[in-house]
Each structure stands twice: as structure tokens, then as C-alpha cells.
Amino acid sequence: MGEVSLIDVSKRFSLRIEGKPQIVRALDRLNFTVSDGEVVALIGPSGCGKTTALRIAMGLETATSGAVTIDGVTIKGCGYDRGIVFQHAELLPWLTALQNVEFGLEMKGMRGAALRDTAMKYLTLVGLADSVKRRPYQLSGGMQQRVGIARALAIDPKVLLMDEPFGALDAQTRETLQSELLEIHARTKKTILFVTHDLDEAVLLADRVVVMEHGRLQEIFTVPLPRPRGDLSAIRGSDVFAQTRYRVWRALHAGAQPLH
């Protein structure tokens, strides 16, 4: 199981703008549920609160009001039922790829031979079995992010949370990692909630796309593409992809227009 629900989640904080305290509403009564094994994309313009929502779901930030539940249980801070992948991998630079994955397992309390075996298993899953001895600065951006994904998956969370995981990568590496993520999802059946600003990525990977605007949920789209989605280039050329992409694009634009 691995069902995530955001229930009436609001986040307010006060900022001093030109000396005057102002209340900023980062999130305003956000409600949505990601069912077990589902992939959901959070999309919206910069500053719409999508990353804040993800960090609250992880427990790295606390909501001003509302709650996040995993399988119906309200979360209190971070936990091993959730794993997070950061935008820039955030590997510990003094550890090798293997040690970075082992670090997560060690925090979870794993010791001894199982530590290395489990870390190796997940590094193999992300295709890095040959580079486990390298330190982060000896890895390309794409390889670093694979280690980040392996570190998050290794603790065997129910839910994988990803904050613009491929946003900092070049287009080709991004496409490779997108199809690998689909493979990993097909194999592990993890629930995945990811933040992106890339419309194509949202439609290609997700079962549903949540469009956010000014801290509020604007609309939720179902992506009627079948799984497994083996050939991503074929999907990109399909009518279903184009139509879904257009619907989400229109929603994004409708939301963005009042600003101009």
C-alpha cells in the first residue's frame, strides 16, 4: 500500500516586504489523493507552491493547517515510508555512490553485509553497477541523479516524492531518465508524486496531472495513456498525448493569463 492524501493543506508565512510584514499564502486548502501505485505530476508556474506541497508531504516542512496522510495515517515529520529525490541529487560529496546509498540504509538501521548488498541492488536497478566507487564529482549530472533515485528507493519507501528530478539535466539525459523511471515504476509499483514544470514530462510519465495556481489546485487531468508505456517516442507522436498535452497546456495558460 502507499496512498498519499493531502487534506486541506495550507501554508502561510510572513515576509517583510519593504519593511511591512505581509502574509504570503504559499498553499491554500490543497486537496488531492495519490492512490497506491499511481504516478501523479504536480505542475504549475514558478511560485505556485508545488515544491512546498511536496516538501510538506515529505515532512521537511510543516503545514500551517491541514494534514498529510499515508494509507490513512497522518504523518508527523519525515519517515521511511517516504523517499525523496531532490532536484540536484544532493549527494554527500565525501562519499562514493555506493556509500551514499548505504548512508540512507544505515540511517534506517541496516547493518552489516545486507547494507552493501541492498545498496548494490538498487544501484544496479538504476544502471550504475559499474560506477559505485566514484564520488559525486566524478559522475555526470544524470548519473548523480540516478544515485539520488537509488538512495531514495533503497530504504524501500511506500511513496517516492520527486522535486523536479530531471529539471537540471540536458534534454537527452532527461529523456533517458524519464523512460528509466517508467521502467522502475513498472518493476517496483511504487506510488510516485513528482513536481515538474515540464508539460511533456508530466503527461508522459503521470497517470494524472495536478495543475496548481497561486497555491490552489486548479484542475486535475487524467492521462488516458496505457501502461506500460514502453516506447516514449511513439507516445509523443500519438494523438492521445497531443490532446492531453493541449488540455493541460490550456489550463496552465488560463491560470497564467490574469497576471499579464
Binding site: M58, G59, G77, P93, W94, Y137, S140, G142, M143
Partner: protein, 276 residues
């Protein structure tokens, strides 16, 4: 799958491949610089009244005399022992103190101001008081050396903790690590380059502290040779301990640099910094 796997070069290899970058080895330039300085000093120094100045060959002669009569060896031992004690205690106390001040706002609010103030404290003025507390021997020297070096180590460590990216702390938090584990396994390694810089800065301050303490007590150590020979207008002899101290400080500095590359090899490679 393994993009870039074959064409990733490490920085040290890249240096060797780049042709026209290093034609003359670094140490040759450093040696030449010292030799030229000594030559100029020798040339002009000989014309100066030996009370007002000295020159390398006279200083070397005084050095040989001090070594032969054993005074230099005894003085060196009298200076180095309290130096090592005061300096090591400063590291042992300064590093954890800086980590705690940097990480916990309550410690920062309570102790930060004392450390900043302590760094600027005119310690020279307090030495007579310290002599009253600790006497004229070993203890007062160690205390002065400790007080001179503990503050730069603490402040650098503190600044280092402040510069650890928040996202690295998030990695620990997301893995439900306790504050103590985050401090030891994430903050400490990330702060190491700053800590080493503080430890290096402290060498110079510790040497100054040692000499100041020995000036006031003027009965033992290298500082005593300096002040006693200065009082006798024996300028050449006065320069011997000064130069010995400079050589020791430079040696200690490169030892620390070597140690830093040993404990934090990733840092030099990330920064692309070469040997210094």
C-alpha cells in the same frame, strides 16, 4: 546507461595532459624567490651597523653558535612543548564549540558574542594577569597559546557550519537522522575545509602568542633568546629564533595542508585546487 563513463577525467590527469601549463616546477620558483631575497638582504645588510640590522651569513653564524652551545635546542623544547599542548587543546575545544554554535541558535545567541569578542580581545594586555594566575613557566605559555588560537578555530568552524547548504541537512532530515547524527555525519565533513583553514590561521596566532608569553616571562624558550639578545644589542642572535619560528610555522602549515588533502581529498578535487 553509462553516459560520460569513459571520458570523465579526474582533475589531476587533466593537469598533466594540459601542455604549456607548468613548464617550471613550483618548488623551483619558491626556492628562487627565497634565494633572491636572502642575496639582496646579504648585499645591503652588510653595510648596516650590526646593532641596527643584520644579514643572513651573520645570522647563520649565530645559529651555529646557538646550536653548538645547546641553547637553541633547550629553548626550542621549552617553546614547542607548551605550543603543542595549547594548540591541540584549542583544536579539541574550538572545533566542537564552533560546530555547536553554528548549528544551534541558542548556543549561537549565548556564546557567539563571546567568541567574536574573544577573537578581538587584546590578549597582550592580559598576559601580566595570566602570569599572576599561572606563574612564569610552562602553564602560562600554554594558556596564552590556547587563548590566541582557540578563537580563529572556533570562528572558522562556526562560519563553515553556516555555509553548509540547507539541502544537505534536508538529506539527513528526510532520512530521519537525529541532530547528533546530522552534526557528525553531514555537518562535520561538509565543514572540514573551513575547520582546516581555521587550524592553519591559528598556527600564526599561536606562534605570536608563544613569543609574547616568553617576552613577559623572559626566562625560557625562543622568546627569551629574542628578548635577551635584543637587550644585549646582539641583533644577529636575535634573528635566529625569529627565523626558526618562521620555518617551523611554514613546516606546520604544509603538514596541515597535507593532512587536509588526506582527510578531505574531495575538496581539493571539487575546487580544482592544486598543492599549496
Amino acid at each position: 546507461m553509462a553516459e560520460l563513463a569513459d571520458n570523465v577525467t579526474t582533475i589531476s590527469e587533466a593537469d598533466e595532459i594540459d601542455p604549456g601549463k607548468r613548464r617550471v616546477p613550483r618548488w623551483v620558483i619558491t626556492t628562487a624567490s627565497i634565494v633572491i631575497l636572502l642575496a639582496i638582504w646579504e648585499y645591503f645588510g652588510r653595510d648596516i651597523n650590526p646593532i641596527f640590522g643584520s644579514y643572513p651569513s651573520a645570522i647563520f653564524a649565530a645559529f651555529v653558535t646557538l646550536v653548538r652551545n645547546g641553547k637553541l635546542g633547550v629553548a626550542l623544547l621549552q617553546s614547542v612543548q607548551p605550543f603543542l599542548l595549547g594548540y591541540s587543546v584549542a583544536i579539541v575545544i574550538g572545533v566542537p564549540l564552533g560546530l555547536v554554535i553554528g548549528r544551534f541558535w541558542i548556543a549561537e545567541a549565548a556564546l557567539g558574542i563571546l567568541v567574536t569578542g574573544g577573537y578581538a580581545m587584546p590578549l597582550v594586555a592580559l598576559v601580566p594577569l595570566l602570569v599572576l594566575w599561572f606563574g612564569l613557566g610552562f602553564a602560562v605559555k600554554a594558556a596564552v597559546i590556547f587563548l590566541m588560537s582557540v578563537f580563529p578555530i572556533t570562528i572558522n568552524t562556526w562560519l563553515g557550519v553556516k555555509s553548509v547548504p540547507k539541502t544537505l541537512i534536508d538529506v539527513g532530515k528526510a532520512l530521519v537522522a537525529s541532530d547528533a547524527v546530522i552534526l557528525r555525519r553531514i555537518v562535520l565533513p561538509a565543514t572540514l575545509p573551513y575547520i582546516m583553514a581555521g587550524i592553519r590561521l591559528a598556527v600564526g596566532r599561536a606562534v605570536v602568542g608563544m613569543v609574547i608569553a616568553e617576552f613577559f616571562t623572559s626566562i625560557s624558550g625562543l622568546g627569551a633568546i629574542i628578548i635577551n639578545s635584543a637587550n644585549n644589542f646582539d641583533t644577529a642572535t636575535m634573528f635566529v629564533p625569529i627565523i626558526v619560528l618562521m620555518v617551523l610555522a611554514v613546516g606546520l602549515n604544509s603538514l596541515i595542508g597535507w593532512f587536509e588533502r588526506f582527510v578531505a581529498p574531495w575538496q581539493a578535487e571539487i575546487a580544482g585546487r592544486d598543492q599549496s
